[in-house]
């Protein structure tokens, strides 16, 4: 087992190299660069622009830029933003917890919705309740998130008796937990709703399969109450692949928060990535992508390990 973990971790390095190399190249293929954006519609003097590029290190060949960047990363230096020469690490330190918190809350909400609904739907298979629940699940993943978000922010503000909006200024969880949660609750719910559809359907499918197994029949024959059968035996066995799905959803989670961050004014990684992309801030984009990729790869590894721990039949060589 240890050898497996070690091997996976070692193989992570070339994967990360690959991802960052491709992203670095791709982002430089985008038309314009940071200087074009900085100059805006004052870009008439080519020489000034070139001087600026030299100062920012943009006139060096791609390989040199990339190697320099990797060198910096190896020392823990995420580099400086091309836009205003402030350290990228500072930005990330502020924004990562925001996205992380939102993602976690969203995940919790989605599990709270999806698992009970999935179990219920499986137990009442092919009845009207099942159809309604499954339709609800599809509806939840079909409704565009930003549409819900705009509704969510507009409706409470026109509520006749008490007009409310979530706080506009982000406060850290440790500084002001109530303001922080008030700001996060709506986007977390919307995120959770979006995710819950697929989780619910998987739960239902898993439960259906598990419920047909012999050991379930046995436990019923033994005289166990239906409740115990479902939760103690069936669900525990059904849960495993759901964990895998969470791993796949990670990537969606991270990309999907841009819209919510914009509407609910959260200084998260999604907006930062989008802004950096639009400003052609190469080091910032590379840093964020590196972070994301690492998180996803590590998360998938953890999921695989969790898998092995939960299901003793699975062993890795």
């Amino acid at each position: 087992m240890q050898r497996y973990i070690l091997r996976r971790l070692l193989l992570t390095i070339p994967a990360l190299f690959g991802v960052t190399l491709i992203v670095s190249a791709m982002v430089r293929l985008l038309p314009g660069d940071a200087v074009t954006i900085m100059l805006g519609d004052y870009g008439q003097y080519a020489k000034d622009a070139d001087d600026l590029r030299a100062k920012l290190g943009l006139s060096q060949p791609f390989q040199v830029q990339y190697v320099k960047w990797i060198g910096g990363i190896a020392h823990g230096d995420f580099g400086q933003s091309l836009r205003d020469r402030t350290p990228i690490a500072h930005e990330l330190a502020i924004r990562l917890p925001v996205t992380f918190e939102l993602g976690l809350l969203g995940l919790i909400v989605s599990l709270l919705i999806a698992i009970p609904l999935g179990v219920y739907s499986a137990v009442r298979q092919d009845t009207l309740s099942d159809y309604l629940a499954r339709s609800a699940a599809i509806a939840m993943l079909a409704i565009p998130g930003f549409w819900l978000a705009i509704l969510a922010i507009t409706v409470p503000s026109i509520w006749p008796w008490h007009k409310w909006t979530p706080p506009l200024r982000y406060a850290r969880l440790q500084d002001n937990p109530s303001a922080n949660l008030k700001q996060m609750i709506l986007p977390a719910i919307i995120l959770g709703i979006g995710l819950s559809g697929s989780i619910m359907r998987l739960t239902r499918a898993q439960m259906l399969e598990v419920l047909r197994q012999d050991y379930i029949r046995t436990s019923r024959a033994k005289g166990l109450g239906e409740r115990a059968v479902i939760y103690r035996h069936a669900l525990r066995n059904a849960i495993v692949p759901i964990v895998t799905l969470l791993g796949l959803n990670m990537a969606v989670l991270i990309s999907g928060t841009v819209v919510l961050e914009s509407i609910f004014v959260l200084p998260g990684m999604g907006r930062y990535l989008l802004d950096s992309l639009n400003s052609r801030d190469y080091p910032a984009v590379q840093a964020v992508v590196l972070l994301f990729a690492t998180v996803i790869i590590v998360f998938n590894l953890v999921v695989d390990l969790l898998y092995a721990w939960l299901d003793p039949r699975i062993r890795y060589s």
Binding site: L11, P14, A15, L16, G18, V19, I22, V23, M26, V27, L29, L30, P31, D126, Y131, R134, S135, I138, A139, L141, A142, I143, P144, G145, F146, W147, I150, R201, A205, Q206, L208, E209, R212, V240, P241, T244, L248, A251, V252, I254, S255, G256, V258, V259, L273, L274, L277, V285, V288, V289, A293, I296, I297, N300, Y307, A308, D311, R313, I314, Y316
Partner: protein, 318 residues
């Protein structure tokens, strides 16, 4: 590799039908209409989904004939009208007929959706089959590549690819193709994994071995034995991902990277004028939103039902 196989056993649809040969024999004697009817009776939701999908596809194909107006024709004076005899769903902020735009939007969504899934599952099939069948070093490296591919933040990939490809001053129609390809590439990542797992699970089956003994070359084995077993999970994946592709297009449009106007795409209709006029004329957002939701609903329900039917392990429980 056995561990991978056991893991896959827990994901429905991931493993091939064990009794595929027998099924082929029985289905030859059944008439297609009766099959459909039985399908509709047993899986009403799936039937509803199927009908929705059918309507959508017909709308997309015959958009030109069905739509009362061109999608870019309108007068400013007619803007933001409610539903009427002339305009079934009212007009948008530029005076264009919403009903026609929704119809043409179906065409765009179908094109983007099918295009994306075609590219995605096509790529996934080829790569997954090759990787799973031949195995070895190629497979090992490839697996890590796929890991890296999945680790890509979709947003960056989508934004970059779409921007790069449209920077050469492309037209609206080619932007549809580009968006489709880009979404397809994203979709290909996860799908490749599934296909590969399926191939691996049947690679060491006795009948495969006997085929090799008999002297079939690799190509023949792949075509005759591997592919048929891979088809079912792919269909299931495809139907579900169709809905996802349509949703992806709408999110891309929201962020400014989707299909370019004046071509109406539900996503960009929702994201631009829908959002802008949300307070004034909510219908501009409601119709495209409903269309997207319905399309995704339809594809997913159909996919669900197909899986229930095609996956024999669930057959006993209907």
């Amino acid at each position: 590799m056995r561990s991978e196989q056991t893991k896959l056993a827990t994901i429905p649809g991931a493993l091939p039908a064990q009794a595929s040969g027998r099924d082929q024999a029985t289905s030859q004697r059944v008439r297609p209409f009766a099959v459909l009817w039985r399908f509709a009776r047993n899986k009403p939701l799936g039937a509803v989904g199927g009908i929705i999908v059918l309507i959508m596809m017909l709308t997309a194909i015959f958009a030109q004939q069905i739509a009362p107006y061109a999608y870019d024709a309108g007068k400013g004076a007619d803007r933001l009208q409610g539903p009427s005899l002339h305009h079934l769903l009212g007009t948008d902020n530029l005076g264009r007929d919403m009903f026609s735009r929704i119809i043409f939007g179906a065409r765009v969504s179908i094109e983007v959706g099918f295009g994306a899934v075609l590219v995605g599952t096509g790529l996934a099939t080829i790569l997954g089959v090759l990787s799973g069948y031949f195995g070895g070093l190629f497979d090992l490296l490839f697996q890590r590549l796929i890991d890296a591919w999945i680790a890509f933040p979709a947003l960056v990939l989508l934004a970059c690819l779409v921007t790069i490809m449209t920077s050469k001053k492309t037209s609206s129609t080619s932007s549809i193709i580009i968006v489709a390809i880009v979404i397809g590439l994203i979709v290909a990542g996860g799908s490749t994994r599934v296909v590969r797992s399926v191939v691996i699970s049947i690679r060491d089956m006795p009948y495969m071995e006997s085929a090799r003994c008999v002297g079939c070359n690799h190509l023949r084995i792949i075509l005759r034995y591997v592919l048929p077993n891979v088809i079912a999970p792919i269909i299931i994946l495809a139907t579900v991902q169709l809905g996802g592709a349509i949703l992806a297009e709408s999110t891309l449009s929201f962020l400014g990277f989707g299909v370019k106007p004046p071509m109406p795409a539900w996503g960009s209709m929702l994201a631009t004028s829908g959002q802008q006029f949300f307070l004034r004329a909510p219908s501009l957002a409601i119709w495209p939103g409903l269309a997207i939701s319905l399309a995704v609903f339809g594809f997913n329900m159909l996919g669900d039902a197909l899986r229930d039917v095609l996956d024999p392990r669930l057959r006993g429980s209907r």
